[in-house]
């Protein structure tokens, strides 16, 4: 009966333990400063670990008496976010420098977790090399800059040329509207009923993947919006929302996407990258610009032929209306903890991690889109994989999530709506209605805009 409290306590005490073990050597002696760095590491994402190990060596050699303590958290994006948030809650456990998702920056600034970097950035020459969109990614509601991006990403259609060829679709493929996607998918299905022609994620299990690599590509290509930037309100009752759900329903009902049961497995993306695309069992999927990082040498799902077999297309708008394509961008940043005992050293460590050499290596290893102009101009970067140019061009049609503190609930409500539609539990209209009601309940009528 005390279980939820116990879970809470267990998590909190784990965080406290983490902190005590980390903080014990942190005596205020100027000679022996310790910087605590928290970041994410998984078995398929080690590029950041490499980056910080290199930066630690470099930084410690240049700053005698300062020890950099790396604390990788091995977890998926959701759990990493939770663990980081728990660590940030207390000044005792808060790290000095940490890896922060761009869509959490605003709410964490609101919470007072992040140090304002404006005065530091003024004196950092490299800051000029960052493009405007990248500078905006780390901006808080007050206009100050609180985080520096490591890279960014875009999303498009990744298709297997062999599967499309078999269905008689001319290459390079570029659908101009939603109907052309369905036409091509139906042709692929007719040519070989065993392939999954065109997959778009749906349901709660894929989390942000469901919205970033699927639903928003649809919604942002309609005439409707998710969030009204001017009014700062969430849009409900829009035609585009229902249309987007209806498109997903068509994909799943006609078996053009994976089965609903497969879609609701949190590991579905591993099969997409590891089995279906390489084995020619999937025609196309909406995925991120980082896709080649899985197939490259030393990637999690090495695939020699990916450069020849795969192609990238822009995700089209609903009826081909301007600007003709849709992409979503996210990306991760580095930030300094607001309560860091050594903010100067922490910022200095951050600049070491983000210098040209380290940025270049990380950008290539994790197939990121460069945010520093000097990295973007490097021949090594442009030659990293055959798709760098294609996915970089998507920046011109890309969107960022409206990452307010309410955003996680909105995102979850969207995921629930997609799940209800693909499982056949609700019609697109009913699911959109339920979404509207959920949003009203959760953020309040004052923050909702009826369309």
């Amino acid at each position: 009966m005390h279980r939820p409290a116990k879970i809470l306590m267990a998590l909190l005490s784990a965080a406290v333990l983490l902190a005590t073990s980390a903080c014990s050597p942190e005596q205020p002696a100027a000679e022996n400063r310790v910087l605590k760095i928290v970041y994410q590491k998984t078995d398929s994402f080690t590029a950041l670990d490499t980056l910080f190990k290199d930066a630690k060596k470099e930084f410690e050699a240049a700053n005698q008496g300062t020890t950099v303590e790396l604390q990788p958290i091995e977890a998926n994006d959701d759990d990493y976010g939770t663990k980081l948030a728990l660590a940030l809650r207390s000044t005792e456990t808060a790290p000095d420098v940490f890896y922060e998702d761009t869509f959490k920056v605003r709410s964490d600034v609101d919470a007072g977790y992040l140090l304002k970097l404006d005065s530091y950035l003024e004196k950092w020459d490299d800051w000029k090399t960052y493009n405007e969109a990248a500078k905006a990614a780390g901006t808080g509601d007050d206009g100050g800059i609180y985080a520096v991006p490591l890279g960014t990403d875009t999303r498009g259609i990744w298709y297997n040329k062999k599967v499309l060829q078999k269905a008689g679709i001319s290459l390079p493929w570029q659908p101009r509207n939603w109907d052309e996607i369905l036409d091509a998918a139906r042709k692929m299905k007719a040519a070989d009923p065993s392939v999954v022609p065109f997959n778009m994620y749906a349901g709660k299990a894929s989390g942000e993947g469901t919205v970033m690599q699927s639903f928003y590509e649809l919604l942002y290509g309609t005439d409707s919006q998710l969030y009204d930037q001017q009014e700062k309100k969430w849009v409900v009752g829009s035609q585009g929302f229902t249309d987007s759900l209806a498109f997903l329903k068509t994909l799943y009902d006609e078996k053009l996407a994976v089965t609903p049961a497969e879609a609701l497995d949190a590991n579905v993306w591993k099969k997409v990258f590891g089995e279906w695309l390489p084995q020619g069992k999937m025609g196309a999927v909406v995925e991120g610009s980082y896709s080649p990082s899985f197939w490259q040498k030393d990637g999690s799902y090495e695939w020699e032929g990916y450069a020849e077999d795969m192609g990238v297309a822009k995700f089209p708008t609903q009826r081909g209306q301007e600007p003709g394509g849709v992409s979503m961008s996210g990306g991760w940043t580095l930030a300094v903890g607001a309560d860091s005992a050594h903010p100067d050293q922490a910022f200095q460590f951050m600049t070491t991690a983000l210098n040209k050499k380290n940025s270049l290596a990380f950008t290539i290893a994790s197939s990121q889109i460069a945010v520093r102009s000097d990295v973007a101009a490097e021949p090594d970067y442009l030659a990293a994989n055959p798709f760098v140019k294609d996915v970089s061009e998507l920046v011109s049609v890309t969107h960022y999530r409206p990452a307010t503190a309410d955003y996680p609930r909105i995102s979850s409500a969207v995921q629930v709506a997609t799940e209800a539609v693909i499982t056949g539990a609700l019609s697109p209209e009913a699911a959109a209605e339920q979404y509207d009601k959920t949003i009203r309940d959760q953020v309040g009528d004052a923050k909702v805009l009826q369309k």
Partner: protein, 293 residues
């Protein structure tokens, strides 16, 4: 001597002081903290993260309008009744009853098999159950071997799957309790009933069950409270899905508190769970009291 007697008596309490302190610190304190947090807008991130404000009954009012909440209470009650009160309890009694009659080697083998599931750490048991019920899992492979095509159990029948998994995992406890209880039933009473011409069924209902009534109440209380709190098993097997069809209160509380960062609301759900536990608890305590009359 007379004056130092109360002092000596108090001195005897000294050894329990550390454990009482630990209990207060690690059990009572988090529960109280959680209860307090449920009246605030405490959050993981955002403006209220470090300076939560007192919001009174707001979180509880929200519970009443949240459509996910009544569904979750219902699923929790179903889960407890089906997997603990009916499943673990009755199956445990049945196995214990059969074991008293079985030959030694048979009862030893059965006992080991049942207890094995209980010995596994919860996370291991959860993964085992996931591997058993998943689409390409053991169950479907067995069915395919027999020529039947299985279903995607975790997707099509998520509650059935988690209920069966919890029965599998928890029956050993009830079995052990009832074995001990049945061993204490005096043989002669049962024999006397037999002489009076009572059938096997009558002996069970009118002789054995009334004699082990207090064990039944204790067992019900323990398995109910354990099952109310089950989180890992469900989280690993279905994560509350698909579409919240296996989201019991602990899963809902976790999602609200840690996925949406709304600790205030999550702890309000946790408080409801405590109340639900109390309701079951009071019912069983009454059953126990009735026994002493």
């Amino acid at each position: 001597m007379g004056a130092s007697k109360p002092f000596r008596q108090q001195l005897r309490l000294l050894p329990v002081v550390p454990s009482v302190l630990l209990l207060l610190l690690f059990l009572a304190a988090p529960v109280l903290w959680s209860f307090h947090a449920s009246f605030t807008n405490a959050a993981l991130t955002g403006r209220n993260a470090r300076n939560p404000a007192w919001t009174g009954l707001d979180n509880y009012e929200r519970l009443l309008t949240d459509s996910a909440f009544p569904a979750s209470v219902f699923l929790t009650v179903v889960f407890v009744v089906a997997s603990a009160i009916v499943g673990q309890n009755l199956l445990g009694l049945l196995i214990a009853g059969l074991m008293t009659r079985a030959r030694k080697p048979v009862s030893a083998v059965v006992g080991t098999a049942v207890v094995a599931a209980w010995v596994l750490p919860e996370i291991v048991a959860a993964f085992a159950a996931y591997a058993y019920f998943s689409k390409d899992g053991t169950l479907n492979q067995l069915l395919a071997g027999a020529g039947w095509s299985g279903a995607d159990w975790l997707y099509a029948f998520p509650m059935v799957a988690v209920v069966l998994a919890n029965i599998w995992r928890g029956t050993a406890f009830s079995m052990l309790v009832y074995r001990a209880a049945l061993a204490d039933v005096p043989q002669d009473i049962s024999e006397a009933a037999l002489m009076d011409g009572a059938s096997g069924w009558q002996r069970l209902v009118f002789v054995t069950l009334p004699l082990i009534r207090s064990s039944i109440a204790t067992n019900l209380m323990l398995v109910t409270l354990q099952t109310l709190a089950v989180f890992t098993l469900i989280w690993v097997m279905t994560a509350g899905g698909p579409s919240n069809t296996s989201t019991t209160l602990p899963v809902l509380a976790y999602q609200e508190a840690f996925k949406f960062g709304d600790i205030g609301y999550g702890t309000a759900i946790a408080s409801v769970l405590i109340v639900l536990g109390l309701v079951f608890g009071i019912a069983y305590v009454r059953l126990l009291k009735g026994d002493k009359r």
